[in-house]
Symmetry: C2
Subunit: 402 residues, 2 copies
Amino acid sequence: MTRFASRLDNVQASAIRELFALLGKPGIISFAGGFPDAALCDAEGIAAASQQAISRYPMVALQYGASEGFAPLREWIAGSMSSPGAATEAARIVVTTGSQQAIDLLGKVLLEPGDVALVEQPTFLATIQAFRLYGARLIGIPTDADGADVDALERLIAQHSPKLVYLIPTFGNPSGGLMTQERRRRVVEIARHAPQTVFVEDNPYGELWFDRPPPASIYSVAAADRELVDRFVYLGSFSKILTPGLRCGWMAAPADLLARAVMVKQFADANTSTLAQVTTYCYLDSGRLPATVERVRRVYSDRARAMGDALDAKFPVNSLRFERPQGGLFYWVRVAGDVDAPKLIRAGVDRGVAVVPGSAFYAEQPDAQTMRLSFATAGSDAIEQGVARLADAYRELGGRPS
Amino acid sequence: MTRFASRLDNVQASAIRELFALLGKPGIISFAGGFPDAALCDAEGIAAASQQAISRYPMVALQYGASEGFAPLREWIAGSMSSPGAATEAARIVVTTGSQQAIDLLGKVLLEPGDVALVEQPTFLATIQAFRLYGARLIGIPTDADGADVDALERLIAQHSPKLVYLIPTFGNPSGGLMTQERRRRVVEIARHAPQTVFVEDNPYGELWFDRPPPASIYSVAAADRELVDRFVYLGSFSKILTPGLRCGWMAAPADLLARAVMVKQFADANTSTLAQVTTYCYLDSGRLPATVERVRRVYSDRARAMGDALDAKFPVNSLRFERPQGGLFYWVRVAGDVDAPKLIRAGVDRGVAVVPGSAFYAEQPDAQTMRLSFATAGSDAIEQGVARLADAYRELGGRPS
């Protein structure tokens, strides 16, 4: 019998994975995915960029590369993160195999059994699992639609001296929430008095705003102070604005942490696909990104409105609690009143609509009445129909307005 | 001060990395790389495959994918590994971000502090480091040009009950050695009596044979016994025959191990770039691989001969000990007699030739008189000239025939 490492005891096959097994059902309308709509990708532009990558940079794109990443891509990323008065240098950037890898590298260089990491309640499922695989104890920060509760954050830091704090302040997965500018500034102030803690801002959704751009990133607020920023880490991704197919993300981090992350990346996958990196760079260099992002924002904004309108129209008043997201891909919904959310989710699958149970997104004390609905991949008509099916399931289960 | 995880104390920035910093010198002839020659890649075929990937499979190539990998690619890989009487099913395959990731996943699912892993002396540097990051204690198996010493292997297994045994039996890095058919069979027999040990065969170089194909893989010998093969793992790679730029490798493993590897991969990088996977598949499907591999073999064979001839011609008789490799990318050379190899390597850099010190490739008791010379990326003339420079350095240091 193979003896597996005990670190595996800290995680379990995801509840979402089990749900996905049900999704093969014909005709199902899925709000369950955590991914963008591949049909919105600029396939033509990406194809052209991959040709250019091979014709312009064959000895880079077809060879192993530095674990840090392709230098022109690192330069581009650093430039995109710089703001007036706060430059980010390419030397702070490592290109990662999706930002998922950055999460894994952070766990590997920082976390060991018994260490505490603070995460929002709810937060990204794969972060919980990645950190637990390194033995960390995850403690949840109370969070609302305006982001993490900063007073609670301050108390939890004093209480636990965590190795790291992990936040998705902008259109978070699954919460869809947006941390206010005031709270972002408070996080930076709190960091001043927590010298043993690394603050991680994961921002894969920031470009997907609807009516107005979100407040400046926590990282850019911290970057105004050259010493303080050395305890801040920023994770970015091209998956939601360009394509998930290239698996190109990045981490901005201080020199000591970056050197260690690059070393462990060397032994994790040597380097992120050079062809993918150079293709990404050629795409960025082509100048097509702004128009693509503009188009993607408009589509998601329309779908978000369709989903909000349908939830309002199809469900009884006060049967659901949710805020309309200002960007990103998700509605985070709490089922109020007299219907059990897990039962509703199962009944929804029977009626041909899939959503994700919210419990999986909690590091502790899950709220079983929550669920995540993605509006990313269904058109407005399908959204309306899917929500109607879920509302039918709700009534079938005896749901009444509270 | 950031508190890093103590697992980092088990590794150090590689000696090779430090050497590479010296390689910027103009006019240097490098035998130091561990990589294939990117100029031998079928750039045109890869570019065509990446176009096809996007035009034929846009919703796969531009989207997230299953952590296991793209199903048609897994099928192709399984087919390529099957042999008469021993089929390998696609269900045993996970596509990895280079075979480096497979090594990392194996460490993560199997190794914990105090566990023993057996590796050849010398072996692949990044395997040593990857396994040490999970706290494993690495113990070396005495190895010669015919592969690991199987009697020693049997003794070491009895003594240490290792979690895993890691072998590169075919044109290994750095040894260039080729394990005999007889020893391969012995490994499988030894496994029969070591039910708590997983046997890993890493085979990135197997296709790069010169005059005749190597003996059947250890995995395929084990695969004739459906129960026994469940303790064998095989790592493959497209990096040396197609391009390292796609970062596509794979692992074949039994169901219990595969399920855990796929789970931890989900939290390590979600999936290997789908565009890279589909591009790889489209290339394989195009039928161009056999001709490419044929061409690559011929070039490396010529370069290997050029290097062997130059080493024989330029160095005094008996000053070096090496076997001519029958495939792969490397000469493994021991400096005999009265010259200190680390000094020779430094003097070589001064004279414009770079090789890699062998010490870094030992898990324990390094032999400082060894060095690795790659013939992969220099043409025959440059090989002759580089070896001549190294021989000049040898004489400058007072080297005499022993």
